[in-house]
Chain length 471, copies 2
């Protein structure tokens, strides 16, 4: 048994989710509970919560899957145009062929064009684009390439706390060193460069810090970094020769009027040649989040710049062992970066569907923040972006003792009770990391508005009862 | 830079394939060559070679992708029935939801039912089925779980030589020890248990051998193991407490009249409770090979039996970090294990398409063997199964010297020259491993018959010229 595998933890699908599965089975068998269904607010899985797929995306993928449909009058011409182009990029014009390990060429070209548009003309080279099996695969692969050494020269990887546990899991698996920097909860989960510096200097005494991971918009914390903050981070990475890893899968999920998404790539270029010719940066995107929520397709890409040519060769080699990312996921990614444009037949419907999803999410972000903050003993920062609330919860000392008896972290104890009493499945903050003595949970805002309201009411009632029970 | 990553080699997409890509670019730019196209016979990529998808499989996946089509009269009822069933197993009835990490439940049930049918009623439990991102992902994951230790207690993994280089690459990445056992070229690449024993005993002096990998039908060697041989291997694994890893992705690709595919699982059960309750076995299948050739979907499954419950828990956790295999690939896998049956509307067409592919492959297997064996200095064993020829080639000592000057392995030198002079891309035997002093290459038999004939003629002419040039 591999000890590094043993050390891996992944709370988003951890013990609480296994328990939720058991409860679902019991409900199916007719066992009575104080609720009739389990609501899985543990994972950002939009379609599972009833969100409808973007029609255009599915039309194109269906056409690629079964090209006989290219003759069907019920598919719009712009979807056929895209499907033909994707198929021309595939061996034998088939989604069933392996693509190049780096991904289908024309899709990488579309990704590069998307990045250039998004970043106001900053150049993007298709040679620096790698299609991936979801963003997770890209992140794990880049970390695998960068990690090395034993003892005090073991590679250190800086990650935010709270973090998305893919990071800690990949670091465990690779036997690298996790370096925590704390986001500032009092300041709306902002990233402070002084905290980066503290954490780095401490880490230098016991490992070799080489990578700095940023999640923007934040998961699980939902903050959106402002321009100044990104500039500070880039300057810090440049100064300290850190490889920057920018997880930007929530780039379309920004809700606060006062916030805007800035890509690390764009700011890096705007900071001038000293930075943009030197700082190594990998940034990630995915089909799973945004307005499309196509998690099951496992589509994604990464853009990697300033990578040393030798390391680039190693990266391509490593990717080639797994042959290629799923080609249907690549096709889905293509539509995310190459959607209908004004003048095209599908444009109006596409925009309507996209805006409906995003406006709904914005509404739910505000609703969640407001309702949580009405509950005594719960404090929730504004959900500026992404798709989660990460409220801080007060857990009385009697409950902490009770948790100890059950050999659970206090917030795990809280979330287990919430699940058992209400059927609501959320993930304890301890699965993401949090400052000692503070407790949180992560909940998605994906259920439909009416359902989300009921869910938030239930959490409120549970919390008040919990406080009473353990006061 | 991770030194284990540096150590990885993967010849199937190695330097010769990069060179092929360069030549293709030159051809596109109008640079004159002695040929007009590069023929990529380096990789088992059926659709890229012109094989058509199985209609029924694509119909079901298209219906799942774009469920509006469920109302279309141009899709047969049996394809709709399957699509509805798959969608009911998906969160929110969408391919865009994450599935359980182990895969969609009803698809795992279909896989288990398929295995029971295939193995004449030997029971299969859906709980032991894990859907994967192609077989490669499953193999790499199982190896990751099993590997541990440093120094003389490092895990040893026994692999055939010649092997499929995914194995050596995964072993390098995991910093485990590769233990070679040689297949018997003189005896049609048969596996001999005495050779297993020799190789194991030798390895015991420097590592802790724990895993025995078998590829049946063989890749790159094309042999099909007989029942007696499988029994011997199982007995050996039982005796030596080795974890058996049976790569059976070519189970539908058996061409020799005298050969039949036997699954390790079936034989294990027929050997009785002492074996089937104790020997740990993981066996693998895929959408990529067989008659469907759906490589791009990255569909696959593994069945793992007699795994210790603790290790099983670790396996599920490890899979959960990557969330789930691509759901459209899972849907494709479902159709491979649950194809149309007699009485269903699509049965006749399905069988016609399936048999056409397999009969063609059988014809090409014989053609390839016969034509290679007519060339002086080439010897080719019968292609009993899989989709490759692995002929032995005589390389004159003058050519070996010339290769040395170019710092290449002699068979790499040969294959590079073949590529440059004819446009035919094959993989040198050194990428798979071979007995010292012998030389081979791997070539797929996937091009259409007429093209394959031309290709084999070209190899013949090249070989004769090569022998003259270096004699």
């Amino acid at each position: 048994m591999n000890p590094q595998v043993k050390a891996v933890e992944y709370a988003v699908r951890g013990p609480i989710v296994l328990k939720a599965g058991e409860i679902e089975n019991e409900l199916r068998k007719g066992i009575k509970k104080p609720f009739t269904e389990v609501i899985k607010a543990n994972i950002g899985d939009a379609h599972a919560m009833g969100q409808q797929p973007i029609t255009f995306l599915r039309q194109v993928v269906a056409l690629c899957t079964y090209p006989n449909l290219l003759d069907s009058p019920s598919f719009p011409e712009d979807s056929k145009k895209r499907a033909r182009r994707i198929l021309q990029g595939c061996g034998g014009n088939s989604l069933g062929s392996y693509s190049a390990s780096q991904g289908v060429n024309c899709i990488r070209e579309d990704v590069a064009a998307y990045i250039e548009r998004r970043d106001g003309g900053v150049p993007a080279d298709p040679e620096n684009i790698y299609l991936t099996t979801g963003a997770s695969d890209g992140i794990a692969t880049i970390l695998k390439i960068l990690v090395s050494g034993g003892g005090r020269s073991r590679t250190g990887v800086m990650i935010p706390i709270p973090q998305y546990p893919l990071y800690s899991a990949a670091i465990s698996e690779l036997d690298a060193i996790q370096i925590n920097y704390y986001l500032d909860e009092e300041n709306c989960w902002a990233l402070d460069v002084n905290e980066l510096r503290r954490s780095l200097n401490e880490a230098k005494t016991y490992c070799n810090p080489k990578v700095l991971c940023i999640i923007n918009p934040g998961n699980p914390t939902g903050q959106v970094q402002n321009r100044k903050c990104i500039e500070d981070v880039i300057h810090f990475a440049w100064e300290e020769k850190l490889f920057l890893l920018a997880d930007e899968v929530y780039q379309d999920n920004v809700y606060s009027e006062s916030c805007q998404f800035h890509s690390f790539k764009k700011i890096l270029y705007e900071m001038g040649p000293d930075y943009c010719n030197n700082v190594e940066l990998a940034s990630f995107h995915s089909t799973s989040k945004g307005y499309m929520g196509e998690c099951g397709y496992r589509g994604g890409y990464m853009e990697v710049i300033n990578l040393h040519p030798d390391i680039k060769g190693q990266l391509v080699k490593l990717l080639s062992v797994r042959l290629c990312p799923p080609v249907s996921g690549q096709a889905a990614m293509d539509i995310v970066v190459n959607p209908p444009v004004p003048g095209e037949e599908s444009y109006a419907q596409f925009i309507k569907e996209k805006e409906s999803v995003l406006n709904n999410l914005a509404k739910k972000a505000k609703l969640t923040e407001d309702m949580f903050n009405q509950v005594p003993g719960i404090h929730c920062n504004p959900l500026q972006g992404a798709m989660y609330a990460f409220p801080r919860i007060f857990i009385p000392s009697k409950a902490i003792e009770a948790a100890k008896v059950h050999k659970m972290a206090p917030d795990m104890f809280y979330c287990m009770k919430l699940l058992e009493e209400t059927g609501i499945c959320v993930v304890p903050g301890s699965g993401f990391g949090q400052r000692e003595g503070t407790y949180h949970f992560r909940m998605t805002i994906l259920p439909p508005v009416e359902k989300l309201k009921i869910l938030l009411e239930k959490v409120k009632d549970f919390h008040i009862k919990f406080l009473k029970e353990y006061s």
